[in-house]
Symmetry: C2
């Protein structure tokens, strides 16, 4: 039997595979194939999700041998729905951390996760809110995005993955993001996630800012939420009003996240919700094993 959990963070949804049979760090853990990931994430023929989060002890993950693991005990093997390997996912990391805490695999209020994007520190507040250190938002050059002929001024931001954050006066709720925004292909040769952002706060100097964000993710289309997009947005919005730190509430289609920016890093806080858990049907799963 292969156990699974399904859950989401601001409606960015994942299939979590605990692989508890693999707790022996010396055990050979079979790789999860791209085809198996695609089958699991298929929203009609499979379970359905934006990606798969596989829980592996750091010692058992062959891949993790070349990664900095520090004191981390668990490796977050994250895959996109198309089967591709991915570094890191902020909304997924909260769900991953919630599983570790609820399963008793971690019990402290702060611990590190090993990911392909490096070590990521997770913090659980007294109220139970989960935050993930996402690393700094690195601001780049100015650029523009175009939708149906309309031009939106923005700035390139790297969260290790590329973003173009466009703070605009145009009401983002009314934008048609059914097609990809047109961007500078020389600046973004591997594509880019484009964020369209309204500042909702009246007083830009307030301790906590409030913005609304819609995001078009490269290779996917508009999504309900994007953790790195929220962090890139918070960093750029603060910079645009001359600040290098602060707290930003980001409304996304799938809910709300909170980003805390300091000169050194960015921390993403938000919900993590488990919807169901159970077993993958062995006859169905056997086809791809």
């Amino acid at each position: 039997m292969t156990r699974f959990l399904k859950g989401h963070g601001t409606e960015n949804d994942f299939i979590l595979l605990p692989d508890l049979a693999d707790l022996d760090p010396t055990a050979e853990v079979p790789l999860l194939s791209a085809e198996q990931v695609r089958r699991l994430c298929d929203r009609h023929a499979g379970i359905g999700g934006d990606g798969v989060l596989r829980v592996l002890p750091v010692g058992s993950a062959t891949e993790a041998e070349n990664l900095p693991t520090g004191d981390a005990r668990w490796f977050m093997d994250y895959r996109n729905a198309d089967g591709s390997v991915s570094e890191m996912c902020g909304n997924g990391a909260r769900l991953f951390a919630k599983y570790l805490l609820e399963a008793g695999l971690e019990s402290t209020s702060t611990f590190d996760l090993a990911t392909r994007g490096g070590l990521r520190r997770v913090t659980r507040s007294r109220s139970g809110e989960l935050s993930v250190d996402m690393g700094p938002a690195r601001l780049g050059v100015e650029s523009v995005a175009r939708i149906a002929g309309a031009e939106f001024a923005g700035r390139q931001v790297s969260m290790t993955n590329p973003h173009l954050v466009c703070l605009t006066e145009v009401t983002v709720s009314a934008l048609d993001l059914s097609g990809p925004p047109i961007v500078d292909g020389d600046l973004f040769p591997d594509g880019v996630n484009v964020e369209f952002v309204n500042l909702l706060s009246d007083t830009p100097a307030a301790a906590q800012l409030h913005v609304r964000m819609r995001v078009h993710e490269r290779g996917v289309g508009e999504t309900r939420s994007c953790g790195t997009g929220a962090c890139a947005t918070a960093g750029q919005v603060l910079a645009q009003i001359g600040r290098d730190s602060g707290e930003v509430i980001v409304d996304v289609l799938g809910g709300e996240v909170r980003v805390t920016v300091t000169p050194n890093t960015t921390t993403l806080s938000g919900p993590a919700v488990f919807v169901a858990s159970g077993d993958i049907d062995p006859d169905w799963w056997a086809i791809s094993e």
Copy 2:
């Protein structure tokens, strides 16, 4: 704990709720609200599915009191993903029947299901294939569907729900069904499912015909499969070549079904696949109870 199973028939996918705690036919069974159905079927914030199949003993279903139940022991409480109550679903009925057989709630090779669309006879072949008696395809008047200015001649067919079957020489694989086909609103005041069909068989007189079908379902858009659409298509294709009975293999995006037409009724056969089973998270579910 609320148990669930997830599965599909030709990629028309469902959440099945066994409600095994309700096996006492005198028990009060709480109704499943439209809001609960929408939450379950939400593909990002819930489990995800085209609909919910709830298994109820006929005696416990208040609604079933006014339905013909005959010798049927189980009522298929079928809901669409939008929360609306629905009569019947051919692809769902196979999955429902498969559950009853695997759970030992039915054990004979033929049994009846009570549905809002009336009694439906299920047959399991020696090879394990499941067939559902869908009732007759009732042919109506000729009409047309238009896509991007192109006109497709078709015929109105009722399977209790309304269809417009368009047999065409245009390769249906190449059609753009991203928007709804334009139809005669006077003939179809409640909307219509439109099927675009290519005859793949070279010899229309063959015992078994082979067609390819794409379907645009009212209120949904293009779907991977439609059980009543396959039956309507089989009835109309046979009628168009002067036959009132025969067998038709129908290729759909999600796989293949087989329809057997006689002068009195239509029988739909095809796959039923369980992907996973488990428990709905009680904290998550409690919100809507």
